[in-house]
Symmetry: D2
């Protein structure tokens, strides 16, 4: 399903709720995005830090996700997150929902996010310390567009 040997350094458990499940007994698609949201918020808080985040807002520009197999309640799930691309005013975070027991990748998504100035209401260049912290955490080489 996904055979490349990418390493996700950031991983956290995602607790499922009874109310997440639809009529088929599957976790509803919209819930995956709540879980991805929760984990990318945590990622930037932990990796970039609150000091930097006070000066910049992050807005979702686009989402792409593939659903490989349904998640059933109460599967034990972790969400893996990795920033795979740092552009000039945007970056891409790749995320996976993985079954802890079977290691099966249930869903994989890519979210493009824009660094944004909430007051001036415009996108802004990714701050240097933001970029540096992500590059160090993800062990990235130069990658700008």
């Amino acid at each position: 399903m996904d055979c490349d040997d990418i390493v996700f350094r950031h991983e956290m458990p995602a607790q499922l709720r009874w109310s997440d499940v639809d009529q088929f007994g599957h976790v509803n698609n919209s819930v995956y995005f709540q879980l991805f949201d929760m984990c990318k918020t945590k990622y930037v808080q932990e990796v970039v830090g609150m000091d930097t985040l006070k000066r910049v807002a992050i807005v979702v520009a686009s989402i792409k996700a593939d659903f490989f197999a349904p998640i059933f309640y109460p599967d034990e799930i972790v969400i893996q997150s990795k920033i795979t691309h740092l552009g000039n005013k945007s970056f891409v975070i790749r995320q996976r929902a993985v079954n802890v027991r079977t290691k099966e990748v249930k869903c994989e998504g890519y979210t493009t996010m824009v660094t944004y100035d909430m007051e001036k209401k415009c996108s802004i260049t990714i701050p240097d310390d933001f970029r540096a912290k992500v590059e160090e955490y993800e062990d990235m080489s130069e990658d700008r567009d």
Copy 2:
């Protein structure tokens, strides 16, 4: 189930979503409170008006709800709302989820809400114009605690 001849002047349709439904095919309990929330927000906006609401926040203090029968997707539902009690710093709103076709009352709830000053972080007396508008709309006689 509810035989008294109370009149609900405020009624609005509540659109159900596929994701509202749980494994039994029932609308999940937590969704009822989303619908009640949506409709009591609309009630105070329409009856009390935005001018008054700019000066006062409204905070939920307690909820009590009876579930008489499940709502199935895609039942057509309306939410009825009525302020039944105006206290000094709090008021009670009674709400019902009703099946449009069968007229069956699926759920009935009472929410106690407190008028609140978000900056000073304390409850405040219900403003006079707030009280007057509700009393007129609901055709209430004097009722203070």
Copy 3:
């Protein structure tokens, strides 16, 4: 706020999501019921066991909840659950949302649940083994209505 010395044997962490938070920065009221739901499902699975639960469904008849103080994201929250009353065909579960760090009780609720036969569509007497397991877990003396 709650001074009695009740002991909650069942306690589990409830993970908050960014999407749980409303415009005021508060966890939305409807989310509390998702968390209570998740934890009472876990309670009956753990205490009563899946074998017994295959023969009986559990349906919510009524909910009563008091909201003492808002939950902010990302507060660390646990949900405490305790069955406080076993009737003939119904039981009551008392639950609390507690801030882990401050020990503050943010919300307390009582849910009345009915043991139900999904096929015959009627309430049924609480099975003896269900009752025995709860009485043992909660160290209850005789309490029937």
Copy 4:
């Protein structure tokens, strides 16, 4: 933002809830997928019909969405839906969230769905009557992969 002259025959209002809104006052991303879900369910029910849907389940394989501008509460929103591609065992539905007053397209998404046999747990060829009804509704010329 989207200048092509595509015609969406299927359009329905999507009611927003107070609980849909996040800390920024924006409708949360995960809610868009609840609304898209609600409307594509309605689309297939209305266009394909319940008789055909009893013989085939529909499962989401992938989602792609671009968020052009935030939706604020209580914006009045419609969701437009159009099946743009009918493959052998899958089809693509294109959807838009549009502000009724300003006509602004807030979000546009493409969902790839697979026709599925829930019992045999495998994808199946799109039934002929399913295909015929969609082709007629959307006035499509031959388009198979």
